[in-house]
């Protein structure tokens, strides 16, 4: 699997039995991304599977977040584009995009004193008119989002008083209230302890399994990424090294090439997901 060339469209991983053959609804076409004078990603093409959970993995500075930000139109591509159903996302009216995809950036901040319910209600912002209160649809979507994320009981609490895991669930509830099929999350588990990490990822897994929402997230933890996604995209220095099902992607060879570690890969007896056990830093 190492060094698979990735075309701008067409199925990946031909010959594998995995069901994630990307269908082109969500893809990058020859995209170049950068900040100021630094180019992070150059001429990258990649399709992501619709209706599945995808995790973008890679070492620090590999361009994971940059790629997700481009998908969420939080940054404009230097060239090329990220496409949703054939439309270059950054050229669509931003409010229309907000009706199709919701994004949870890293470490979002809520104004002091805002309650969980109020926060989640702002998820309806793209669907509301300038004037007037919440409609019945709005209320229902908010109630559902609170319910799904288990934050109904917290809805009267100020966001600032919540624990890290609760806060992250409240933000996910806000993104859910947007009612989009596509959810993008940038490192949703960073700074959470183990129980809260699982809590958040179980929630995302449920949202995908029960509601068919497409999830694309950046994850730091390779073990969690393998266990909770159908599809992995491994990045290094702005290039896609390989993509595919976790069992195909997480191999000693990939860990050497992408993460520069020597590692054993074993199979998790419970989930069947690959687990990587690094034992040495690759000497360069």
């Amino acid at each position: 699997m190492k060094g698979v060339g990735v075309g701008s469209s067409g199925p990946q991983g031909a010959g594998s039995k995995s069901a994630e053959a990307p269908d082109g609804r969500l893809r990058f076409g020859d995209v170049s991304l950068g900040y100021r004078d630094r180019l992070i990603v150059e001429g990258l093409s990649l399709s992501l599977p619709w209706g599945q959970v995808t995790a973008i993995i890679g070492p620090n500075g590999s361009g994971k977040s940059t790629l997700l930000r481009a998908l969420a139109r939080l940054m404009r591509p230097r060239a090329g584009a990220a496409y949703l159903d054939g439309h270059a996302i950054h050229t669509l009216p931003t409010r229309e995009v907000a009706k199709r995809l919701a994004v949870l950036p890293q470490q979002p901040q809520a104004p002091e004193g805002l309650t969980v319910r109020e926060l989640v209600e702002y998820g309806r912002f793209p669907l509301r008119r300038t004037l007037g209160g919440l409609t019945r649809d709005d209320r229902q979507a908010v109630a559902e989002a609170l319910e799904l994320t288990g934050t109904t009981d917290l809805s009267g609490e100020p966001v600032s008083s919540l624990s890290g895991g609760q806060r992250q669930r409240a933000w996910i509830a806000m993104a859910l209230a947007q009612g989009t099929e596509l959810l993008l999350l940038d490192e949703p588990t960073t700074f959470l302890d183990m129980a809260h990490q699982l809590e958040v990822l179980e929630l995302l897994k449920r949202l995908n399994a029960d509601q068919g929402r497409t999830v694309v997230m950046v994850l730091h933890d390779l073990g969690l990424a393998s266990r909770y996604s159908h599809h992995l995209v491994a990045l290094r220095e702005g290039r896609v090294v390989t993509t595919g099902a976790p069992a195909e992607v997480v191999t000693p060879a990939l860990l050497r090439e992408v993460f520069e570690v020597e590692a054993d890969v074993v199979v998790d007896p419970r989930s069947g997901a690959p687990i990587c056990l690094p034992y040495a830093v690759l000497s360069r």
Binding site: V103, E112, F125
Partner: protein, 331 residues
């Protein structure tokens, strides 16, 4: 949606009305509140009507309008920048207006007194130009960040103060004293003319600000979340900044630089009605009006024959409050 916010604003409106009635009665010629009402609605002695209706009413109304405009401006600015220490003065409004007026004052008398409007127009143009300068310098990579805006604002304000000093050196004592008096900010003795300008302006801009309430809330989440929710962040920021500058520049053009109101009123309002702008904007406006009214009334009644201008009175309370806010803020 609770009723607490709207109810609080109704209460604040009643408090402001009561304060207005009391303020109109206070002073060397004392008028009881009941007589104030009678004078306002045309059933009092000629003397009461003159003092209350002709002398004190325009002054008090101007205080309320100026305070409201500055408070709204500050609330918008704090919302856009996401920084609770932002004040219209920080984007160079006061210094810009000051330079505008002082440039006018160094011109020959025939020019500067050609029209009663010359001075407010010079101040407004100066304030607007300063704000543009700040925005221009702060613009980078397709937008402005709050931090850049505030830092550039401080720099530009300092530069403009230097220009004012330079201009002051060219003035004779009398003109200089006038310029200083203008700078200190006052609502005294201006009659009805400024109200005829400011009232319609506020009547137009306030609904415009209120329509932006929810968008301002969303901008408070920061650029990424706001974009995710479908707000065109840079365009909205620019529009709201223009609105904020329009409000404070008008106030400063008509009453001189009354500082701190735009900083303090939004904070007071936030502690009463919370962070949502639909409630916050009206409360801040009402509190700003109340603040300047009380300051001006105290300034003209507390110190015997000496009158202190409203700007000085507000600053006397505002400066310590600002330091208190700084001490309490997490930054």
């Amino acid at each position: 949606m609770t009723l607490r916010g709207p109810l609080t604003n109704v209460v604040l409106l009643l408090v402001l009305a009561a304060a207005l009635v009391i303020a109109l009665g206070l002073g060397f010629f004392h008028v009881a509140p009941a007589d104030v009402l009678r004078a306002l609605f045309g059933d009092a002695t000629a003397q009461q009507e003159l003092v209350v209706g002709q002398l004190r009413l325009p002054r008090a109304l101007l205080a309320v309008l100026v305070g409201a405009a500055l408070a709204l401006s500050g609330t918008l600015l704090q919302g856009v920048t996401g920084n609770g220490l932002a004040d219209p003065g920080i984007v160079g409004i006061h210094a810009g207006a000051g330079v505008g007026v002082m440039l006018l004052l160094v011109l020959p008398v025939s020019v500067r007194e050609a029209s009663a409007l010359a001075q407010p127009v010079a101040a407004f143009v100066g304030a607007g130009a300063a704000a543009l300068l700040v925005y221009g310098f702060a613009f980078k990579d397709g937008g402005v960040t709050a931090t850049r805006l505030l830092l550039v604002g401080v720099g530009v304000a300092a530069g403009l103060s230097a220009v004012m000093l330079l201009l002051a050196l060219r003035m004779n004592d009398q003109v200089f004293a006038y310029a200083v008096a203008w700078q200190s900010g006052s609502v005294a003795g201006k009659g009805w003319a400024p109200i005829r300008v400011l009232a319609p302006l506020l009547a137009a801009l306030v609904p415009l600000a209120l329509l932006q309430a929810r968008r301002l809330d969303v901008l408070g989440f920061g650029r990424d979340v706001a974009t995710g929710l479908g707000v065109a962040v840079e365009r909205q920021r620019l529009g709201l900044l223009a609105l904020s500058v329009g409000l404070s520049a008008s106030a400063v053009a008509l009453a001189g630089s009354i500082s701190f109101v735009g900083l303090i009123a939004p904070h007071m309002a936030r502690s009463i009605v919370g962070p949502r702008h639909a409630n916050l904007l009206p409360s801040a406006a009402l509190l700003g009006g109340l603040l300047v009214l009380v300051a001006d009334t105290a300034g003209r009644t507390l110190f015997g024959t000496t009158e202190l201008p409203a700007g000085v009175m507000v600053a006397a309370v505002g400066a310590p409050y600002f330091l208190y806010l700084l001490g309490r803020s997490k930054a």
